[in-house]
Amino acid sequence: MATVDIACRDVSMVFPSAGGPVQALAGVTLDIGRGELVALIGPSGCGKSTLLRLIADVLQPTGGTIEVRGGPPSRARLAREFGFVFQHPGLLLWRNALANVRLPLEVGAWGRRHVPPHQPEDLLALVGLKGFEQAYPRQLSGGMQQRVSIARALVTGPPILLMDEPFGALDEITRDHLNQELLRIWAATGTTIVFVTHSIPEAVYLSSRIFVFTHRPGRVMEEVRIDLPSPREPSVKDTPEFVRHTGALRRALAQAG
């Protein structure tokens, strides 16, 4: 691994709740290198989304340290060093697709203080939505909305992309299609991508490494390196290597749950 983009050291997270404190994460230590595409996978409620939110400075860890590109997550957030893609697109309904993509440039007048690395129009084209610039979110399908939100996360050219089950709410055909596009975007931009998923085939197909989390409190149970060739085509899913990886992951997850 060349340069480390995200370093988690002994990270733990305890949420206060009505039924007493809930430990979501316990002693998570992992490194994610620059330009990697890494999946976090685990049973529901294993804290993998929490970890992503800790990296994004949406939440503060109750123990351990997180460094994003050599500094605290808050610095990375202020410097817009990561984009975040949520499980639901979370588009602003009163803005058309193009204006939604432009939003990160408008907030904090970022677009006026920096030279935007991409034109919003180009990013919509990159996610396959050329011609839909003027369409409002309600006029778009769930998959198209999620693509708009990916374009929105990329518009300031962040070196890191954090994705929280980005394709979890989509049907399998749309999901396969967007997986393909994500690999293409990854190849085109060289962004470090960390994404949370429930889907074993998706994790194997996309990632160079997978971290398997145990059930609550979440810990890294296993680190799996996926040595499938790159760039990957959908046909790789029919190879014995792919099946071997998904099988191993399934057995690991059965232990985790």
Partner: protein, 274 residues
């Protein structure tokens, strides 16, 4: 960046309403207007028939034709009395809504304030307007002020309740995005909370548009010699029932006009809800 060719099989670009689509909307609008107008005409006809069949005396219920005559003959007087009512309703509508929006914004950003003042707002709402009206006249005199205050009071509550709900209806993921983008509170308000609240605000303002007229009317029952409320009380005591009905028609027309204006503004400003 070199942009790859879009892999998606895009068939037709975003749905932009074409001219025939607009013409169709016009036809739908006409049909929507036509139906209630037909019902109204039928009700007026029924009214006329009942009066004739049961020989209802004119001082109890006048015939539709008599009301129409009163409307035409007394139009100057009706207009003279309509103007103060319109001014009071509009003033009350504006004041009540502005204070309610300001209070809702304060409540959403300060929970202590909300817990302290929200119950007070509810308590004020339960006081009967008819009882508050004379108190306001005592405090504020005989001019526009007490009427505007009552119209404002009556519009305040629905807007406050809806606006608080509207500001809190903002998509949590959109608010989280604002945090990830390091947006200030003002920016989060401007980009997410305020637009999210607009559909709620407009449904409150549609209620307020008609109830503000009602508030002004009730306020005119006491301590004034102008306005449609005054005219309604006067004609009731004098058994000038035709003019009383004419005054009611004018009042109703004003309230309907307000409702229409608010609905048009909603149609123009809250396009994404359609």
């Amino acid at each position: 960046m070199t942009v790859a060719t879009p892999a998606a099989s895009v068939t037709s670009p975003g749905a932009v309403p074409s001219t025939p689509a607009r013409a169709a909307t016009g036809a739908v609008l006409l049909r929507r207007l036509l139906l209630p107008l037909l019902v109204l005409a039928a009700l007026i006809a029924l009214w006329d028939v009942i009066i004739r069949v049961f020989a209802v005396p004119a001082y109890v219920i006048p015939a539709p034709a008599a009301v129409w005559q009163a409307l035409v003959k007394e139009r100057v007087r009706l207009l003279d009395n309509a103007i103060p009512t319109i001014v009071e309703s509009l003033g009350g509508f504006a004041l009540g809504n502005l204070v309610a929006i300001a209070a809702a914004v304060a409540f959403v950003h300060n929970k202590v304030l909300e817990r302290a003042l929200y119950p007070v707002a509810v308590a004020v709402r339960t006081l009967p307007i008819v009882a508050i009206a004379p108190i306001f006249v005592l405090m504020l005199g005989n001019g526009y002020a007490p009427k505007i205050a009552i119209a404002a009071l009556i519009t305040f509550f629905p807007t406050l309740v809806n606006m608080v709900e509207g500001l809190e209806s903002a998509d949590p993921q959109a608010l989280e995005l604002m945090h990830v983008l390091s947006a200030s509170k003002t920016e989060a308000f401007r980009y997410v909370r305020w637009p999210s609240s607009l559909p709620y605000l407009f449904s409150a303002m549609r209620i307020a548009s008609t109830s503000s007229v009602l508030g002004a009317l009730v306020a005119e029952w006491i301590g004034t010699n102008k306005g449609l409320g005054y005219l309604i009380v006067l004609t009731t005591y004098d058994f000038r029932t035709a003019l009383l009905y004419a005054a009611m028609v004018v009042t109703s027309a004003i309230a309907l006009a307000f409702f229409f204006v608010v609905s048009m503004m909603e149609w123009l400003l809250v396009r994404w809800e359609r």
